[in-house]
Symmetry: C2
């Protein structure tokens, strides 16, 4: 790999990545980028950070070998820098994964901005802070974006990309393209939303779960089993909207909303439902029809059924697997 | 199979099942029970019910053959009865899957109770009505239970079993055992909760999704992708509690709650979070430790990673599969 590419470079030409913060998420990013063949320089202020990081990467490596490493990928491409400034001095992309504390994120992003070569995009792994609230202290807020991964970042494809009020549209577009090149599955959001999309959804589920445990209504074991033996099997390959559209039978989402719509008024969760007016109904129906594309109801049912069978078999619940 | 077994019988001795209502859920139950080798008699008041039902069963059959049929299982074991009374006359178990209308459920369960041989358990597939509210008109409410499946019932293992205030504990225990024998994964609840467990969880997620679409914050496509490319991959085999425990690193759920607990106050969803007091914290920590059992953090991480890889491969996202 070339050491002479000037930053900024095209997303396809990135070779050197700085990972700031090397905990579960930061370390997961390190493992992912190494597996994709990048040179990674990491920095973390903790005294035992390097040892923990190398252990995390080594533990993840057999999984990454199974998936398939990029040409030249090696754990030897990891350097742990003694200072933040040295970590980013030569970087063509920076991924920040510090603890979720707003003041810390603000000052750290300002410090990273000051130390990183001009034009290089700096992405934050924040689980939910809007970039607008985090970029306040930086001299060049235009290059600061959110690139929110899921745990473990070296296996779960999703990255949510969104800018703040002072982020440049080019930085958002560059980041989305970069993550795509780097093997992630990208959702680019056109507006800030606390918790982004996936975290809002799983947080709603999580809060309902906490309420149930707090009130003695369900055990941790029952909650987990209710998902892994139930809707979780479908959600591995078909999202909640399309899944519910199939619950409407051949009538699809339209029938589902018209049939089950009244249950939105039921006390099935502590989260109040929105008014299911014509506009929302049509948006859901249109979205599902668009998602279905040319696939008929029968096609979708067959696809869902095959998916559930494959997932059941893959996770050792039909026998005949190695697990 | 014997035609002389008197009802009621032991869960292991059931041979003849009546399925009342033959839509998406009722028809899915028919397919499941046929695949497990039972004789099934179905009844549905719709004029074209038999044709639709036989089409649904035929469409599901290749999937059921893949999973493996029970000895003697055959679509020929399905009889469609002309009346409700004839459908249940000889039944050793009754599964009711009528539309979700409380008045309809009440009168139908009363009618089923009057026509079904004494002692035979009658289970309702209701998505969320408490049995207490549905058993009001029945002469023998003690044998009425909820047995709530997930779509499609012939593939998704989960059944939630719960009784109403007037349901006998023996009917609940009998049902749980019966579903287990019939190849389902059973959660037996010791109290009524509108929406039970899994529906409360997925309904919270669903309501947040509807809010996002209603407010133009996310598209149907983004919502579905945020789950299938993100947390949905984990939830196919590891529930939300244990998954979040791993997000706490080696510190587990305790570290996770102490670290991310403050984000419960963030506006990440429209669902208000419960107070994360010591009691709730400890209940979550203890529950996760119990779920983990002898498995270390490293064991769980390895298990999760292998699970994600297997699910990605099984759903055609790593290449090298037939799909």
């Amino acid at each position: 790999m070339s050491d002479t590419t000037p930053a900024p470079c095209a997303p396809e030409d990135v070779r050197r990545i700085a990972c700031i913060g090397a905990g579960v998420i930061g370390g997961g990013w390190v493992a992912h980028f190494l597996a994709r063949g990048y040179d990674v320089t990491a920095w973390d202020p903790a005294a035992d950070a390097e040892e923990k990081l190398r252990r995390l990467v080594a533990a993840a490596w057999p999984a990454l070998e199974q998936i398939g490493l990029a040409d030249g990928a090696s754990q030897d491409r990891l350097t742990v820098a003694p200072t933040l400034a040295e970590a980013v001095a030569d970087a063509q992309f920076v991924q920040e994964s510090a603890p979720e504390k707003l003041e810390l994120k603000r000052s750290l992003l300002a410090e990273l901005d000051a130390a990183t070569p001009p034009g290089v995009v700096i992405a934050s792994s924040t689980s939910g802070y809007p970039m607008t609230d985090m970029q306040t202290d930086a001299a060049t807020p235009s290059r600061l974006v959110v690139g929110h991964p899921f745990n473990p970042p070296y296996l779960i494809p999703l990255v949510e990309v969104v800018g703040g009020e002072r982020t440049g549209a080019d930085a958002v577009a560059w980041s989305s393209r970069f993550y795509d090149v780097a093997g992630k599955s990208v959702i680019t959001m056109d507006r800030e939303l606390p918790g982004f999309i996936a975290n809002r959804l799983q947080e709603a589920l999580w809060r309902e779960a906490l309420h149930m445990v707090a009130n003695g209504e369900a055990s941790v074991e029952d909650i987990d089993a209710s998902i892994t033996e139930g809707p979780g099997l479908r959600w591995a390959f078909m999202g909640p909207c399309l899944t519910f559209a199939l619950a409407g039978g051949e009538g699809g989402m339209a029938h589902m909303l018209d049939h089950f719509g009244p249950s939105l008024k039921s006390p099935w969760t502590r989260l109040e439902a929105p008014e299911l007016d014509r506009k929302l109904r049509d948006a859901m129906v249109d979205g599902c029809e668009e998602a279905a594309g040319d696939r008929t109801y029968a096609d979708l049912v067959a696809e869902r059924d095959q998916g559930v069978i494959d997932v059941l078999r893959a996770t050792g619940r039909l026998g005949g697997t190695a697990r």
